[in-house]
């Protein structure tokens, strides 16, 4: 039984990372895309405050570019932590989606604290006694876990309610939306019950993680605890397979697309990438593209299907 439970958890972690990495690699393997930025672009330094860009300068390609990582953080932190865009543009939804997401962040922090506690435990330090740091880890673990469970459950119930009752949202809601939210309610519900009935100081949880780290497959003798572990394992493995993978893909949607304003000036690596895509074969069928004996993007894009004699002659002279 112990072997089965630990194996499932190991497998879930592997599946999680496999799909996360697969999505990221798949995105990174896509060819170069055209620029499609959207302002305000957060790293534009002082200009970001009003949505400006380096293109506001005459001879912009000769000027040093101010690219502010701090500016990106100033946008990303409120966006990630507090869902600023939903707050600004969809306030009724924010009241339920914010607790859901913030609860998840607390749960992630809770698992991280459990991990720290587990390592400490393996090092012979008992969490919650002795040093101030150890006590802080214990206190935060005890705070973040239950608070996270409650916020996730409350938020998920609220989201289900919104998706069922808001006519605009209802028609865009699939069975998967309800399943996902239901899964979080059940998983966090089992975690809450385990905390309330079996593991009030998360000693079992910390020990379980220590066992995972040390490959010590010792059974925790609590059916409720083990049920919670199995549900959590399934949820962890399941998330990156769904649209919820936006939690990490958002990085690319923002940094590579929305803020992807890197100009192609003095960038031989960009030219090399453009050279690759211009040699891709084109198979679009419309008559203004196909049927002229041109096969690559470079050939198709430099071919004028309606060139008049003079233009053709000019081209030949060049």
């Amino acid at each position: 039984m112990a072997l089965l439970i630990y194996s499932i958890v190991y497998l879930a972690i592997i599946v999680f990372f496999f799909f996360v990495i697969r999505r990221i690699v798949s995105y990174l393997n896509n060819p170069i895309h055209v620029r499609w930025e959207l302002y305000p672009v957060a790293h534009e330094g002082k200009r970001a405050s009003y949505g400006g860009s380096y293109l506001e300068d005459v001879d912009w390609w000769t000027k040093p570019r101010e690219k502010s990582k701090i500016g990106e953080l100033k946008v990303m932190i409120p966006e990630i932590l507090f869902l600023k865009a939903v707050w600004e543009y969809n306030r009724p939804l924010w009241y339920v989606t914010f607790p859901f997401h913030f609860g998840l962040y607390l749960v992630v922090a809770f698992i991280g604290l459990l991990g720290i506690g587990a390592v400490a435990q393996l090092a012979g330090i008992t969490i919650g006694s002795g040093s101030a740091l150890s006590s802080a880890v214990a206190a935060l673990t005890n705070l973040f876990g239950p608070l996270g469970f409650i916020l996730v459950i409350g938020g998920a119930i609220g989201l289900i309610y919104k998706r069922m009752t808001d006519p605009g949202l209802r028609k865009y809601t699939s069975a998967e939306h309800f399943f996902n939210l239901g899964l979080f309610i059940v998983t966090m519900g089992s975690a809450s019950l385990t905390w309330l009935l079996v593991d009030p100081n998360f000693h079992f949880a910390r020990t379980f993680i220590a066992n995972l780290i040390s490959f010590n497959m010792e059974l925790i003798h609590s059916p409720l605890f083990n049920l919670q572990i199995l549900l959590a394992a399934f949820t962890i493995a399941y998330i990156p397979i769904t649209h919820m993978s936006h939690f990490f893909m958002k990085y690319f949607l923002y940094h590579d697309i929305r803020w992807g304003d890197e100009p192609n000036i003095g960038t031989p690596e960009t030219d090399a990438k453009i050279n690759i895509v211009l040699n891709y074969p084109v198979s679009w069928s419309a008559s203004h593209i196909a049927g002229h004996g041109k096969t690559t993007w470079a050939e198709v894009a430099t071919f004028n299907p309606v060139a008049e004699p003079e233009a053709s002659t000019n081209k030949e002279k060049e």
């Binding site: 060819p31 959207l38 543009y89 936006h246």
Partner: protein, 529 residues
């Protein structure tokens, strides 16, 4: 009917999917009478599929047999498959895939859409409605995702679904205001453009104003206006003479000057519709002592690039011709005149299309104009512009390029009564002519541009002049983009805003020249005065 519209209604055998009723329209801060929709002409109805709503834009031939219906569906699916290959769609694959995979369907984008707001929340105009249909087709028939029906919702794919989706791709200005509000970064406006691409690049079904009379005409004659190099030079020469004489300022527009610092590319529509814009640029550049030229090479005297609206291949062909002209002249840079989509097309999108050797730097005219105005090289009398002025931000220049301040610095220096409309800058609203509609006057399309797409802009303009309403005070909307001006021209005419509000529109350069001390007063006119 419109609010209850379901995703799967798109596939049903009904006469129309949706309609926009006058009583549902967003109220305006003035009392304008709205008429009932004019019928789509029988000739159009007899040839093209008109089953979406009250308007027809995309000309999809009516399938006459079951085989033709199936052919339409199969070709569309083939096109969609190609759209998700790197070879055929390296340009936008990353953006499209991420939008397909990561949208949470939270509808946070809905209220940002001026069409959705103008129609009183008509479901068909919700930014995600079109995307959701597209996504369900993709997941079920192209990606063939396991449990797709359960995961994404089902869709019945038939010729009506395809035809309506194609037409629906032309119910969006592609202003990308929706994308700006998305917490995740999904882009519903892009999906509209990608659907347009399938129809154009795979099915060969296009909008005549954009394709046959647009990008193809530009590739054939050099300009969508049909002006060839001889005609365009004659017309500009006439503009030079006419404006020199009228305003007592002798100037000459240079053509094909090898080694000039700047190749200026105008939207050639200005030459036909707003010659004062062409004259103003020439007067300012001459007064500032700038080394510049126009080019008479194919497509290089017309900055338009309608491929941006519907077709990547046509986009690339036009951009390359314009870049080749710059290379041939040996200029130091290309400067784009007052045309928003041309700005975006050649400066930004073409940045990763133009190969090495064709990368002459490109920039907007607005920073250059700002520097000229601030340089002290030209004497100005701002009192000549002492009337209420507001600034319309072309989406392509502001939201999509981040050029916000230069034009404002000019306004603040030369226009004593300048006031912003709200919201503005990168958060502006589209004029309603964006993504090609400004040049469409076929059938009842203008009605749709007035009632639906231009409604929010009209509200913004009227609100910007709330302290100076009425025909006694002349007012000016600075709209530095040809497409936007075309939309405002038609909008103002429809609602008689010149007569009722003494409201006119034009660009930035007209305000600059109007304030030039060396030019006779009265460059800006209200009507036929």
């Amino acid at each position: 009917m419109n609010k209850d519209l379901q995703i799967n209604d798109v596939s049903k055998n009904t006469e129309k999917l949706a309609t926009v009723k006058n009583e549902d329209l967003m109220p305006l801060p003035a009392d304008f009478e709205e008429k009932a929709w004019a019928d789509i002409p029988e000739e159009t109805k007899g040839k093209y599929v008109c089953i979406l709503d009250d308007v027809n834009i995309l000309q999809i031939p009516i399938p006459k047999t079951v085989e033709e219906e199936e052919e339409l569906v199969n070709k569309f699916i083939n096109g969609m498959r190609k759209l998700f290959t790197k070879e055929n769609n390296w340009t936008f694959l990353s953006m499209l895939e991420t939008t397909m995979e990561h949208c949470a369907k939270c509808n946070t984008c809905s209220d940002s859409c001026h069409l959705y707001e103008a129609t009183g929340g008509n479901e068909m105009y919700r930014p995600n409605y079109r995307t959701e249909i597209f996504r369900r087709i993709y997941k079920k028939y192209v990606k063939k995702e396991p449990f797709s029906r359960w995961r994404n919702g089902d869709i019945d794919l038939n010729w009506r679904t395809v035809a309506r989706l194609g037409e629906m791709a032309y119910r969006c200005n592609i202003c990308r205001r929706c994308a700006q509000t998305c917490p995740i970064g999904a882009d519903n406006a892009l999906v509209a453009r990608e659907i347009r691409k399938i129809f154009s690049q795979e099915l060969g079904i296009t909008v005549p104003e954009l394709h046959d009379k647009g990008s193809m005409m530009q590739l054939k004659t050099g300009s969508s206006t049909q002006m060839n190099k001889i005609v365009v030079r004659d017309n500009v020469e006439f503009i030079d003479e006419d404006f020199s004489e009228e305003f007592g300022y002798d100037f000459k527009t240079p053509w094909d000057v090898e080694g000039a610092d700047i190749l200026l590319i105008h939207n050639a529509g200005e030459i036909m519709a707003w010659p004062e814009n062409i004259a103003a640029f020439s007067m300012i550049f001459q007064a500032a002592g700038i080394s510049w030229t126009l080019s008479s090479d194919l497509a290089a005297y017309d900055s338009i690039n309608y491929g941006v609206f519907y077709d990547d291949v046509q986009f690339a062909r036009t951009a390359i011709l314009q870049a080749q002209a710059a290379k041939k002249l040996g200029v130091k840079k290309i400067v784009l005149g007052e045309c928003g989509h041309a700005h975006k097309a050649l400066t930004v999108i073409a940045d990763r299309v133009l190969p090495e050797g064709l990368k002459t730097p490109r920039e907007s005219c607005f920073p250059l104009l700002r520097d000229i105005v601030m340089s002290g090289k030209i004497k100005f009398d701002p009192e000549r512009n002492n009337f209420p002025v507001t600034l319309h931000d072309p989406c392509n220049v502001t939201r999509l390029m981040g050029i916000i301040k230069p034009q404002r610095e000019i306004m603040h220096k030369l226009c004593p009564q300048f006031r912003e409309m709200h919201p503005n800058g990168p958060h502006n609203y589209c004029c309603g002519g964006g993504s090609g509609y400004a040049i469409m006057s076929r059938n009842n399309i203008p009605e749709w541009r007035f009632k639906v797409t231009g409604r929010k802009k009209l509200e913004q303009i009227l609100n910007a002049f709330s302290d100076s309403r009425g025909p006694e005070i002349p007012k000016y909307v600075c709209a530095p983009c040809s497409n936007c001006k075309g939309q405002l021209r038609d909008l103002f005419e429809r609602y008689q805003l010149l007569e009722k509000e003494k409201l006119t529109y034009s660009g930035v350069v007209e305000l600059i020249v109007n304030a030039m001390v060396d030019v006779k007063p009265g460059f800006i006119k209200w009507g036929e005065e």
